[in-house]
């Protein structure tokens, strides 16, 4: 059984990482193709610096991902706190079903409906140009919000009542109680929410595709490139992103493991 499970997990990981291995290997290709491997070279990494559309795409992506994750974390956390205080079950249910819409709906429908809204409003107020930075940011915040709420909510359900009431009993003002007692106890949820929002925003292609206008994010730039011949520089850029995230996650993981051990020792 043990061996069987090991083999299975290994096979799955091979499946998950085969395309990524292709990506990394071909990013080092000395030829121009991502289909025929001609030899190793790091030229594509160096040429990245001159590819202004890709660099600006990456910049746009990071700005949007960061801002949308930050804004949706703040608004979403506030909303989650509010939702737990809604007294009527029915209004809680209503808010939650609205929350579910962007999460359950197909991206293409979300993207199209938002684009129609922006273009419609743009025409209404006589704008020459209704799509741009804001129309990328707004949809990203919109689809991030439900995920933030969903990751904060369970933590609130567990701790909110008890800790905030305890803090109030000890003489804190409600605001202070929130920051001193509630916030620390839901911080894991908030951080998970933020990271998830960041990831989703980073990966989004379909929605931005319909709403981005001039403000092309990296996935849009990549999409346009896969319409043409893909050269290994796209792979090089993706490899850099992949490896940086990989290193970050390893770091995060070791730190967590250490703190776990410390906690265990104390216990």
């Amino acid at each position: 059984m043990k061996i069987l499970s090991k083999i299975y997990v290994t096979l799955m990981l091979i499946f998950l990482y085969a395309p990524l291995a292709v990506m990394i290997v071909f990013s080092l290709n000395s030829g121009e193709s991502v289909w025929v491997f001609e030899g190793f070279s790091a030229d594509w990494y160096l040429s990245l610096a001159t590819n202004s559309s890709m660099i600006s795409g990456l910049e746009h992506t990071l700005i949007v991902a960061f801002l949308s994750a930050a804004i949706s974390t703040v608004v979403g956390t506030a909303a989650a706190v509010g939702i737990t205080s809604l007294r009527k079950k029915i209004s809680q249910k209503l808010v939650m079903s609205v929350t579910n819409i962007p999460m359950m709906n197909a991206d293409i429908v979300t993207g199209i409906s938002l684009m129609l809204l922006f273009v419609f409003v743009g025409k209404l107020i006589g704008l020459d140009e209704s799509l741009g930075f804001l129309t990328v940011l707004i949809p990203h915040i919109t689809f991030n919000l439900p995920y933030v709420i969903q990751s904060v909510l369970p933590h609130l359900k567990q701790t909110y009542r008890n800790s905030s009431e305890a803090a109030l009993d000890l003489g804190c003002t409600p605001v202070k109680a929130f920051f001193k007692a509630v916030l620390p106890s839901i911080s894991t949820g908030i951080i998970t929410g933020f990271i998830m929002a960041f990831t989703l925003s980073l990966d989004d292609f379909v929605i931005s595709y319909f709403t981005c206008g001039h403000y092309q994010t990296l996935p849009i730039v990549i999409y346009n490139m896969t319409k043409k011949t893909v050269t290994p520089d796209v792979y090089a850029l993706s490899t850099i992103v992949f490896l940086s995230v990989f290193v970050l996650l390893i770091l995060y993981n070791t730190v967590q493991n250490k703190s776990d051990k410390r906690r265990n020792r104390h216990a």
């Binding site: 193709s33 289909w35 040429s47 001159t50 660099i55 910049e59 990071l62 960061f66 140009e129 995060y252």
Partner: protein, 367 residues
């Protein structure tokens, strides 16, 4: 720890911003027109076909960056993959552009729908380089709205090492012999053209019957095809994944650079000829900069760099008559009179026929 992660994100994005500026070495270029930098700091939105300007790769000129250095205007360059996508973007009002480079029939349509701004060619110092043959064409009879950028014809690219020598006809795309090895266009206008040519029809037919027949022929050919492509054809032909497919002559030359097994012919039934020209949409925001940019594209050295990068035929006499031009008197780009295939231009078709064939194209894809 989390703070550190966030700090890293910020640092990452800063690095990207810094990187964006370096790596390209500016070149010594002699310009014929004067470029003031009184528009310094403004932005010019350029909307062009993919891979349709010299971009600084392999030591060539980075046209946009040279223009930025020359004038101080920031070029915001984005790309489209078909005339229809470009039109759709422009029409939706979602985005505005200062420069667009559509093809002939699309220019006619944009002009008819009042979506273009007039260009006073008298103000362009380098306009005299445009070959007379490409002036006063049907889509812009008085040269008021467009300045030719590239010229091209459609032909068939094939790989003789895989399929031998095909019949020099459009029918080869239908041949059972090349099953799963042949490609066709994934945009309706060019796709229908391949069938219309076999049937001997006018490419701008207003007879719905003719479009129906062309659709029938395309449906018959679908089972033989490997896939419908646009620029994906590059990878497929270069690696031998596919062996025969129709595309624009200039792109064949680009593919040939990678795979010199590839060959090319103009089908005997005739083919489509097109002119892609620079226009200024009516929603323009930086008209003066757009005029500068057009003049800049006509500069002999810039036009030469573009012609060699894009590999399409140039309408610019400073390029065509330059013996140092890599494709000087190239037989495929500039065929001699007696080798010239029978050609037809696309025209803007009545809206009713247009949506008719757009719908038929969906039928083909659904088939």
């Amino acid at each position: 720890m989390h703070k550190k992660i966030m700090a890293l994100f910020v640092v990452l994005s800063l690095i990207c911003t810094l990187l964006a500026g370096c790596g390209y070495e500016y070149q010594d270029i002699e310009y014929e027109s004067d470029y003031q930098n009184n528009l310094k700091g403004t932005v010019l939105n350029v909307y062009n076909w993919g891979e349709y300007i010299s971009d600084g790769s392999d030591g060539c000129i980075d046209a946009n960056r040279e223009f930025e250095r020359l004038t101080g205007i920031k070029v915001n360059y984005t790309t489209f993959e078909s005339n229809e996508t470009m039109y759709s973007q422009l029409k939706s009002g979602g985005v505005s552009y200062d420069i667009i480079i559509p093809s002939d029939y699309m220019i006619e349509r944009l002009k008819n729908e009042n979506m273009l701004k007039k260009i006073d060619v008298g103000k362009l110092k380098n306009y005299h380089y445009i070959k007379d043959e490409y002036k006063n064409l049907f889509y812009d009879e008085n040269n008021e709205y467009s300045v030719p950028y590239n010229v091209g014809m459609v032909g068939i690219i094939y790989n003789p090492t895989i399929i031998g020598e095909p019949e020099h006809s459009w029918k080869s795309l239908w041949s059972e012999k090349y099953k799963d090895m042949s490609l066709n266009f994934s945009n309706p206008r060019d796709g229908f053209m391949t069938a219309q040519m076999i049937l001997g029809y006018d490419l701008n037919s207003t007879d719905k019957k003719e479009w129906d027949n062309a659709l029938k022929l395309l449906k018959d050919g679908k089972s033989v095809l490997q896939s419908y492509v646009m620029d994906e054809i590059y990878g497929k032909m270069e690696t031998g994944e596919a062996a025969i497919g129709p595309y624009y002559a200039g792109d064949y030359l680009t593919m040939y650079e990678t795979n010199d097994d590839l060959k090319f012919y103009y089908p005997k039934e005739g083919t489509n000829i097109f002119v892609d020209a620079v226009c200024i949409p009516s929603s323009v925001k930086n008209y003066e900069a757009a005029m500068l940019y057009i003049d800049f594209l006509l500069e002999p050295e810039i036009a030469l760099a573009n012609a060699e990068y894009i590999c399409y035929a140039s309408p610019n006499t400073a390029v065509i008559n330059n013996p140092e031009y890599y494709y000087y008197k190239n037989e495929i780009l500039y065929p001699k009179k007696e080798d010239m295939p029978k050609v037809q231009y696309y025209h803007d078709i009545a809206p009713e026929i247009r949506s008719y064939y757009e719908n038929l194209w969906i039928d083909l894809k659904l088939y």
